[in-house]
């Protein structure tokens, strides 16, 4: 009996189907028997046709099902591109020398894979490129594919995600299936997954099933990357993300998956010069463009930003019906991208004067006090909701800021307020954002960086506010206020001492509305003032 029950359990589905079929058969026979012979014959005669129709219907259904549910959503429309057709040569990758050097090793490893395997070396299966957006990760990946002379399939991490669970995993399977097939034909294939963080974040358990799809997709990616070695296909996965490496799942980063990590960061001064040189060759540009100055002006800018500046300059030049792009167009392009488009807002005389003195205050403090920033532009033309602007940026990139630099930032922010107060004896609402900036920096210096004068050193923001005593809070707030107060005093002294210069700048702005770097330099030179530079400690 037990054996029978076991047999029944194992064959339950088959038995049910068999009983169903037999039942239907008996019903068919009974039904046919009750028909007159002609109708019986007619039914039997049309039976092959009915079988055919059922077959056709079933085929259509299966096709539709596979197309819309399986193939349709999971379908991979990515057409691979052959390495030689990408046409991004190694020399085209400019301004990321360190990353290039590391990537070149990767190319060598891909090319010499056979040799490496012969001597028992470890085959690199994955390269993870991390870095801020627009730094050329995709560009670098394409260049790797070109140099490795392999087909290249590019996908974005978000292309794997879908509302239907399993579709992402299915797409990963299909992607690797395609890549393996190409690897068989061409000797290798590169899969590039941009925005890897979309599927590569830490897997999480969600009772609601929210992260199930991402988890499944990532699991499949892990399985496929593990499977590469076993299946022998020369498939290399290059992932790129601008998210922090820590946010990616540890399983993805372990050796055997993304073995190599490449940091593609923002370009340095020399790199930026090279990038400007490269993009300027793509357009018709003046030969006397000062690439060094452009590079200095574009601190913290990514290659994509630089490309954008050059392309914007080309557009401005076209609009002006000029044949060549000059320094002026490039400068305008910078402003348009960074400062925004000028707005036509009519101000009354008093407002214009206050704005002119406000911006002159910022300008004076930046030029005479700030140790690292250059003033590239001062303007009283309204942009982005503000009535005026002084555009300044560091001459080179800094990865840390000293107390002096922070104090200078505060003073620059307070310059407008002090100027208004000194000249008009009153101030306007235009100081609100400046105060916010100054207060934020001063607060950070005291509460987080231990730069206050009362001796409280440490990051007090880590301590819950209710655990901090009122006296400490008072002391820290006094320190913050002291920094602001001393900044105001220093700026006030400066502006009072240099009143003729501030008056001159205000008048120039009221007259011309905008002053460029050269014009600003020229005015300061007239008063025998030079840009303050200081050593950065």
């Amino acid at each position: 009996m037990k054996v029978f029950m076991m047999w029944f359990r194992e064959n339950k589905v088959k038995i049910i189907i068999l009983i169903g079929v037999l039942g239907l058969l008996v019903l068919s026979i009974v039904g046919l028997m009750s028909l007159e012979s002609f109708y019986r014959k007619m039914t039997l005669a049309t039976l092959p046709l009915q079988f055919l129709m059922v077959g056709a219907n079933a085929s259509i259904f299966v096709f539709m099902y596979l197309y819309f549910l399986q193939g349709g959503f999971a379908k991979l429309d990515k057409a691979p591109i052959k390495g030689k057709d990408i046409e991004i040569k190694w020399k085209d990758v400019v301004g990321m020398e360190d990353a290039k050097q590391e990537a070149w090793e990767m190319v060598q490893l891909i090319r010499d894979r056979a040799k490496l395997m012969k001597i028992g070396g470890k085959v690199v299966k994955g390269l993870l490129m991390v870095g801020p957006p627009g730094c050329g990760k995709t560009y670098m990946a394409k260049a790797i594919a070109t140099e490795a002379r392999l087909p290249f399939i590019s996908m974005s991490g978000s292309e794997f995600t879908e509302v239907f669970v399993g579709v992402g995993a299915s797409r990963v399977r299909k992607l690797f299936q395609k890549a393996r097939s190409l690897a068989d034909g061409y000797g290798g294939c590169i899969i590039f997954i941009d925005e890897l963080d979309a599927i590569g974040r830490h897997r999480q358990l969600s009772w609601g099933g929210g992260g199930q799809e991402t988890n499944a997709t990532q699991n499949q990616l892990l399985v496929e990357m593990d499977g590469l070695r076993e299946k022998g296909g020369n498939v290399i996965v290059i992932g790129a993300t601008n998210a922090s490496e820590d946010s990616l799942d540890a399983a993805l980063l372990r050796p055997g998956r993304f073995d190599r990590k490449l940091y593609v960061g923002l370009p340095g001064l020399e790199d930026r010069e090279k990038i400007f040189e490269y993009y300027l060759t793509k357009i018709k540009a003046d030969t006397d463009i000062d690439v060094g100055r452009l590079a200095r002006r574009s601190v913290y800018k990514s290659p994509a930003d630089i490309a954008n500046v050059v392309m914007e300059a080309a557009l401005i030049s076209t609009r002006k019906r000029k044949e060549l792009v000059g320094m002026k167009e490039l400068s305008e392009a910078f402003e348009r991208i960074e400062l925004g488009i000028k707005h036509k807002v009519s101000m009354n005389k008093k407002e214009r004067e206050m704005t002119a003195y406000h911006e002159s205050g910022h300008l004076m403090v930046t030029y005479l006090i700030h140790p690292t920033d250059d003033v590239f532009k001062a303007s009283i033309i309204p942009r982005k909701g503000s009535l005026g602007v002084v555009y300044h940026s560091p001459k080179e990139e800094f990865h840390t800021k000293s107390r002096d630099m922070l104090l200078a930032d505060i003073k620059v922010a307070l310059g407008g307020y002090v100027a208004e107060k000194t000249v008009f004896g009153t101030t306007s609402t235009g100081v609100s954002s400046d105060f916010a900036t100054a207060m934020k920096i001063a607060h950070m210096m005291v509460w987080r960086l231990g730069m206050g004068e009362s001796g409280y050193t440490g990051d007090y923001t880590q301590i819950p506010p209710e655990q901090l005593s009122d006296s400490i809070k008072t002391k820290l707030n006094e320190d913050t206020n002291r920094i602001l107060r001393s900044g105001i005093d220093e700026v006030e002294t400066l502006l009072k001492a240099e009143r003729p210069i501030i008056d001159r700048f205000a008048q120039e702005l009221l007259q011309r509305e905008e002053l460029d770097y050269d014009e600003i330099e020229d005015i300061f030179k007239q008063y025998n003032k030079t840009k303050r530079t200081m050593s950065i400690n």
């Binding site: 079929v21 058969l25 068919s28 026979i29 046919l32 028997m33 007159e36 012979s37 002609f38 109708y39 019986r40 014959k41 007619m42 039914t43 039997l44 005669a45 039976l47």
Partner: protein
């Protein structure tokens, strides 16, 4: 493999289920009577003559006051036709035709006759022919019972010449109550079927005539130009072969005649050629040489060969070329 076996078993079982006729030929006439009684509560009489099934349906009311077929009578006839079709199709008797004769019990001299070729019924069930074509292939006629006419005539003769009435029945029985020679003489009179075993050629000949009549009546333009008085179709077999004869009496309509106009008789020939070709080609009937078409009024005639019918149906011969063969009319 098991699945294949299962399918095989299914197929065999289903095939076996299809064996055996529902209405065995031994009691065919009785089967249809009981079927009509059981399912439609209609009393009928039947007889099998050769390969033709004859069905008589007496009706309390066949015609309404406008002399159109009564609605209930129509329904009864439809039911009887369906029963006849069912029995004819589900029997092992080798039937070719069935003929339904409906009469008003109060006025049996007028009758409705419907003749169907069983193969057409089968093809209609299988949608092998269109519904329209199926109706064209069904001969439907309302006429005065030929036998009643005959008997009435004999009775009048006996009366007129004051003959001994005791001989009347004997004369009728011996000389006038015989099987009909033609489909036109079909009928049911005084508990007796006057139906013969219908052959395919004579049915086709009658069908051509019927199709022509229908077309001439249904086509508004033609019915304005012509009066369709008579169209007869027959099939004659001689030593030289067999031929169809279509004789028609379709003169110009009174309306046109009154204004001195004469309709072009070629139009009638065109219709007859078209219908004859459709009918004979449709049945793929080949046992004939020609279709001889006669206009009884003008003696114009046309000889349509079997080859020309086939060429015309295959669009290899134009109607105008066929009509050039009309003889006996001016300009032909």
């Amino acid at each position: 493999m098991n699945f294949v076996r299962l399918i095989l078993v299914c197929a065999i079982t289903l095939s076996l289920a299809g064996c055996g006729p529902s209405f065995p030929k031994a009691n065919l006439a009785g089967e249809i009577v009981s079927l009509c009684k059981k399912e439609y509560n209609i009393d009928i009489k039947t007889e099998v003559i050769g390969r033709t099934l004859a069905v008589y349906v007496p009706m309390p009311t066949l015609f309404d006051i406008t002399f159109a077929i009564d609605e209930k009578a129509q329904e009864m006839i439809q039911n009887v036709l369906l029963a006849a079709s069912r029995v004819s199709l589900s029997t092992d008797a080798d039937l070719l035709f069935y003929c339904v004769i409906a009469q008003d019990v109060r006025l049996p001299e007028i009758q409705v006759i419907i003749i169907k070729y069983i193969d057409d019924v089968k093809r209609a069930f299988y949608t092998d022919i269109s519904r329209d074509e199926y109706f064209k292939r069904t001969i439907f006629d309302i006429n005065i019972n030929p036998q009643s006419k005959k008997e009435q005539t004999i009775k009048e003769i006996f009366k007129k010449y004051d003959l001994d009435p005791q001989w009347e029945e004997q004369v009728l029985d011996e000389f006038f109550r015989t099987s009909p020679l033609d489909l036109k003489d079909f009928g049911y009179w005084q508990n007796r079927f006057y139906v013969k075993d219908i052959t395919k050629p004579e049915f086709f000949a009658e069908q051509i005539a019927y199709r022509v009549k229908m077309r001439m009546r249904e086509d508004k333009k033609l019915s304005e130009k012509f009066i369709t008085k008579k169209v007869d179709g027959s099939y004659e077999k001689t030593g030289a072969g067999a031929d169809f004869y279509i004789k028609f009496d379709i003169p110009t309509s009174d309306l046109l005649s009154a204004v001195g106009q004469v309709s072009d008789i070629r139009e009638v020939f065109r219709i007859i050629v078209d219908e004859a070709a459709d009918c004979l080609y449709g049945y793929k009937f080949e046992d004939f040489n020609t279709v001889k078409i006669f206009d009884v009024n003008s003696n114009a005639h046309l000889l349509l060969t079997k080859e020309n019918i086939y060429l015309y149906q295959r669009n290899r011969l134009k109607m105008d070329a066929i009509l050039k063969g009309i003889q006996g009319i001016g300009g032909a």
